[in-house]
């Protein structure tokens, strides 16, 4: 049985619109005009128990709207979804006790005057975590997130990275079975990003929690997710393993060549030059042309090294976000 099952899920907003200027502003008081915005269009996918899935796409693609529907904050216009067997937007107590939604932009809600420990105790009360279980969970989270020095500090005095660590502890101290992580590393420094990535990987492995992760940082996705669901203009553009993403979405491969004599007249006759330095070049070559190009390079030049690589995920996604899915 899937942990998350989505079938033909759609969400259409009605957003008020008007032209610029005072006259239009006054007229809109009397007669309002609306435009329908189809944020999510009949998407379907399944996520198995314990799976960590990257849910990626450009800004405005429908990622957060989908997460909000699956966490019960939004009611879809059409379609069905089940998370752990529950219909999310019914917001049943038993359902809400089993999920957590963590937003990188706002990792901690509630009064900033409280200490992290106060807030953890509050979570214990709300989610009815027994004392023994609370201590055990907190000890594990402390080990993974290095919470020791944060527990007695007020939330308002924490840095962004410390807030994220505390926010994760608050969201996970009751051991949710499904995590919706919305940009969990946004704005964090390199060390904090590494810690959060390592934590999410360890947590999902040890607790077998299902994780649906959105992030604009491809390194997050590459580190944590074997599977990618790419959403673009509200539609699923790709659903499959990470390795296959480049192959599916990018018609190019990267051919890296090093030659012994340190020079080559015109690299562009082999492919599009991405970067070059004396004796070394990276070429973008159409997938179907790769065998012929490598054969020509090997035959015509004194090659000391040659590698054919998938393009970096970051550049594939940059292309997809700018130009759309072909």
């Amino acid at each position: 049985m899937s942990a998350i099952s989505v079938r033909d899920l759609s969400m259409t907003y009605r957003a008020p619109v008007r032209e610029g200027g005072l006259r239009a502003a006054v007229a809109s008081l009397v007669r309002r005009r609306y435009r329908e915005i189809r944020a999510v269009r009949e998407i379907s996918f399944e996520v198995g128990p314990g799976e960590v899935v990257g849910f990626i796409g450009p800004n405005g693609a429908g990622k957060t709207t989908t997460l909000k529907m699956l966490s019960g904050i939004l009611h879809p216009t059409d379609g069905e979804a089940r998370v752990l067997g529950f219909v999310p937007w019914r917001r049943e107590r038993e359902y809400l006790r089993r999920i957590a939604m963590i937003r990188g932009s706002q990792p901690i809600g509630g009064p900033p005057e409280l200490t992290v420990m106060d807030s953890l105790r509050f979570q214990q009360l709300i989610y009815e975590v027994q004392d023994e279980e609370f201590k055990r969970n907190l000890s594990e989270l402390d080990e993974m997130l290095d919470l020791g020095s944060l527990l007695e500090r007020q939330i308002r005095a924490l840095s962004l990275g410390e807030r994220m660590r505390s926010g994760l502890a608050l969201a996970l101290v009751y051991r949710p079975r499904v995590l919706f992580l919305d940009e969990p590393t946004i704005g964090l420094d390199v060390s904090a990003v590494q810690m959060i990535r390592s934590f999410v990987a360890t947590y999902s492995r040890e607790t077998e929690a299902t994780v649906l992760l959105t992030s604009h940082y491809m390194a997050d996705v590459e580190t944590l997710c074997r599977r990618i669901v790419l959403i673009d203009h509200g539609c699923i553009a790709y659903d499959g393993d990470l390795m296959g993403l480049s192959a599916t979405l990018s018609p190019y491969k990267l051919v890296r060549v090093a030659v012994s004599d340190g020079a080559c007249g015109d690299w562009s006759r082999y492919g599009e030059v991405v970067e070059s330095e004396p004796g070394r070049v990276s070429l973008r070559v159409g997938r179907q042309d790769v065998p012929a190009v490598t054969a020509r390079v090997l035959a015509e030049l004194s090659v000391v090294d040659l590698a054919v690589e998938e393009p970096p995920l970051e550049s594939v996604m940059d292309r997809v976000y700018r130009e759309g899915v072909a």
Binding site: K68, I73, L74, P111, P112, F122, L125, I126, E128
Partner: protein, 256 residues
């Protein structure tokens, strides 16, 4: 029910600590809330010199005012506008609890800050409080506090439809001021209007407990007043529940 009370206590404690961070502002808020009962006291004491019970009524009204203050247009409505309402929807308990917790915490703070003022007034204006009347007013005060919260909460939910929630709640507050016994005690309303004033929910939210405490009501009038309070509490709670259900449906349909 026990779990609900434990959660509410926890929310009150949390919000009490939060308000502690801006306690100076609470002093300003308390002074604002005290102004209308103090003005009423000054105006009606001058207009009806020697009339027994006016001073006691307005000092009691000040206590009621401080213990029934409701700022849901700031707490709930602003939370809806800022999207923080979504966090409440994710909690596995009744969504009203954080707002109610803040409401109770704010009332405790208002009372704590207002105690010196109330004590000074008792000494200066010569309040004569009867223990029996005071005890009889306590349940009315609790009902008034519940009623005013439900009323303001329902109005603050208008933020789910419009950006004008502050105006909507402000209009409700004006009605409470005019018809609740603050601008003038209901007992001083013209003969023909008095029964209407006594029956409207605004007196049940504010003036009624003060009328009991000042000893200005007969036994039958106290009973009738309690009847109106219970009736209005039921009606407004049902209304708030309907508004809530409809509002959440809309919120979850148009986006958090």
């Amino acid at each position: 029910m026990r779990r609900l009370m434990r959660l509410l206590s926890a929310y009150v404690w949390r919000q009490f600590l939060e308000v502690m961070a801006w306690r100076e502002f609470v002093v300003t808020l308390t002074i604002n809330q005290a102004i209308t009962p103090l003005l009423g006291l000054a105006v009606w004491s001058a207009a009806l010199p020697g009339r027994s019970g006016i001073s006691t009524y307005y000092v009691a009204l000040l206590v009621v005012q401080l213990m029934t203050v409701s700022y849901e247009h700031h707490t709930l409505s602003n939370g809806i506008y800022a999207g923080e309402f979504s966090n409440d929807l994710l909690k596995p308990h009744a969504t009203v609890l954080p707002t109610l917790g803040m409401n109770v915490a704010m009332r405790i703070w208002h009372l704590l800050v207002g105690i010196p003022l109330i004590a000074a007034l008792v000494l200066v204006v010569g309040v004569s409080l009867d223990a029996r009347h005071s005890l009889l007013a306590v349940p009315a005060l609790v009902l008034a506090a519940a009623l005013r919260f439900v009323f303001t909460y329902a109005l603050a939910l208008s933020a789910l439809w419009t950006q004008q929630a502050h105006w909507v709640v402000g209009f409700g507050e004006t009605l409470i001021f005019l018809l609740g016994g603050s601008a003038a005690p209901i007992t001083l309303f013209p003969e023909g209007v008095r029964p209407l004033g006594a029956a409207l929910p605004f007196r049940a939210m504010l003036g009624f407990p003060a009328e009991i405490a000042s000893g200005s009501l007969s036994g039958a009038e106290v009973l009738a007043g309690y009847g109106w309070q219970v009736l209005w509490l039921g009606a407004l709670t049902a209304t708030a529940a309907v508004v809530w259900r409809s509002g959440v449906r809309r919120y979850t349909a148009v986006g958090g």
